[in-house]
Symmetry: C2
Subunit: 358 residues, 2 copies
């Protein structure tokens, strides 16, 4: 076993959204304290954390004070500015480490990394200007999606190219940002593997979940996913390969397309993942506790699943359904404490237990 | 349905120990904020609550400010000074209500209340001085236990009387406090029913757990308890009767002795209860969320159990076992964030899942 952090140690979390919130609760449950770093005054995680610094990720002084106050630093989102990481890592360890962030912050780097491991991805090409986009479209064909290399999430920073006429608008949408053209994959469904790796190199994976999106945002994750035994094994082995290659510490979300001739990696996220929320009501150690266990040097939970679960996001006005949902005895409710229900905003989620396994 | 509190409403919790802590987490999970009132500077619940007032229960000004800041008031312990309750209830509703506190704060009142419902208790007698104690011993016999009527917990404020010679020492131990002599009950084991009642009068009970104590402190609770079908039904009906008689709102712990000729009520606690911690890993809605649901006017969870669980308290130096326990894949760890591990101090608990039910 590696040297685990002692009880009462403080975990710094960059980002105070719902993921940071659920990480904070998991940390408390294991006896740790948390300190949230987030630019907003009342981030969801602030409600359940010991400390909260309200500051920009460009605020070097605040970053230094934050790092000095904690024993280890983790994060709920991968798009942390490099300059902030440079400051933090001189003071305290960042887990998962810089390499995972470097790879996952850039779609081009990520795809190249995955292919370097012998894994399959969607066809892609680097796009820097109109000429390279036209060349990419010629190579990959349409339909295709032009995406910024960095800082995209929930369908933002993306432009679909159905015909050659869409090229000019798409390149304009990127506003000069480096981009990547991705071809479409002919897949039957999308799954994700929530995988974890401890400081001792131990790897544990949860059973893959099957994802359904609406308007570019995750709508439901269902476990078990529709997979053959060999597909399920492939998914888990593949995730382990990614974690090992990055000498990863923590939980990672690996999104995969299921096709008639195998699994194709969509993307990796070096953090707890929306498609892993079902573990809160399906496993003894959920993804949030698993992540905390990894970054503090505890043994990982095994990820064994005791229930079939459908996770559904409550987005925007979906929160009006909460009172009705609360009457279903097999539905667990997880709200994020956000005061304003804007369209497209994740307000909470439910885990509906559809069966328990003996 | 009663008028439920809206999302984001703030729940005031008197007492910031581990029960207040786990109530805070449950409240946050349903989208509520919490404000802890506790005399200590760093109570366990403070780590996960929105707000924390450090003040004595005699501080009228602090109590008024606390009450004005919240939408409803609940508590993690029953021994709240009457004067504090008098101040608070003029400002915000207190749930569970005053009657439950009045009854449970005094062992004599409690036993009399239970017998008034036709329920069985240990034999008991009021003790005010040496003469009444001698009379009580003559009536009840030995061994018996002299207990202060108020403010006892975990075996404190109690003196055992084995022979007539123990009488003088026992009465001295009470230091003039009103007391009650309780006879022993010939029971095979102790169980508790964690029961809840909503604002609409709906009652829900968890499956009874079987309790084992060590040194006067709860050591383990095991579900299922050893009970016949009719005993199990009796236990649950009895708990419902107590809740209804008190027009109760919230979760209550009802401790029962199992004897060869029926169930005998040991004591009732108008709050979430150590013997209900197993619900965190055995039920979709645990006792903490159940209590929050009740006091905010939400529908109750049904309390259905999906696992067999053994809850074990981690007391004092038991926390040294946590790293070892963390390696068992069927053990869920719940730490309280207390910095100092004193002998007899509850530092956390584990829920060991021994079977899942299909």
């Amino acid at each position: 076993m590696t040297n685990p952090l002692p009880a009462g140690a403080r975990i710094g979390i960059l980002g105070g959204g719902q993921l940071g919130r659920m990480l904070s609760v998991a940390a408390a449950r294991l006896g740790f304290q948390t300190h949230i770093f987030d630019p907003s005054l009342t981030p969801p995680a602030g409600h359940v954390a010991d400390r909260h610094t309200t500051a920009a990720y460009e605020d070097a002084k605040a970053l230094k004070a934050f790092a000095a106050d904690v024993d280890v630093i983790t994060y709920e989102f991968e798009n942390i500015p490099t300059e902030a990481l440079d400051i933090l890592e001189t003071i305290r360890p960042i887990r998962p480490g810089r390499e995972a962030l470097r790879v996952s912050q850039d779609r081009l780097t990520e795809k190249s990394f995955l292919q370097g491991l012998g894994l399959r991805t969607a066809p892609y090409a680097d796009v820097t200007d109109m000429a390279s986009l036209e060349q990419a479209v010629a190579q990959i064909g349409t339909p295709a999606i032009l995406k910024t290399r960095r800082f995209g999430y929930d369908g933002k920073g993306q432009a679909r190219i159905n015909t050659a006429e869409d090229v000019a608008k798409a390149i304009a949408d990127m506003a000069g940002a480096p981009a990547i053209l991705e071809g479409f994959v002919d897949f039957s469904h999308e799954i994700s593997v929530i995988a974890a790796r401890g400081m001792d190199g131990q790897v544990a994976c949860y059973d893959p979940g099957e994802n359904v999106h609406r308007d570019g945002i995750l709508h439901t994750t269902t476990v078990p996913a529709r997979l053959s035994g060999s597909q399920r094994l492939d998914a888990v082995l593949l995730a382990g390969q990614v974690l090992n290659a990055l000498d990863y510490v923590g939980v990672m979300g690996v999104e995969l397309f299921v096709t008639s001739d195998g699994l194709i990696v969509n993307e990796i996220a070096p953090r707890v993942h929306n498609s892993g929320h079902w573990t809160q009501n399906g496993c003894t150690v959920d993804q949030f506790e698993q992540h905390i266990r990894a970054v503090v040097g505890w043994p990982l939970g095994e990820g064994e699943r005791f229930a079939d679960v459908v996770m559904e996001n409550l987005i925007g006005s979906d929160i009006a359904r909460v009172m009705q949902l609360s009457q279903d005895k097999h539905t667990a409710i997880h709200m994020y404490g956000k005061s304003e229900a804007k369209p497209g905003r994740k307000m909470g989620h439910i885990n509906r237990i559809t069966a328990h396994k003996a």
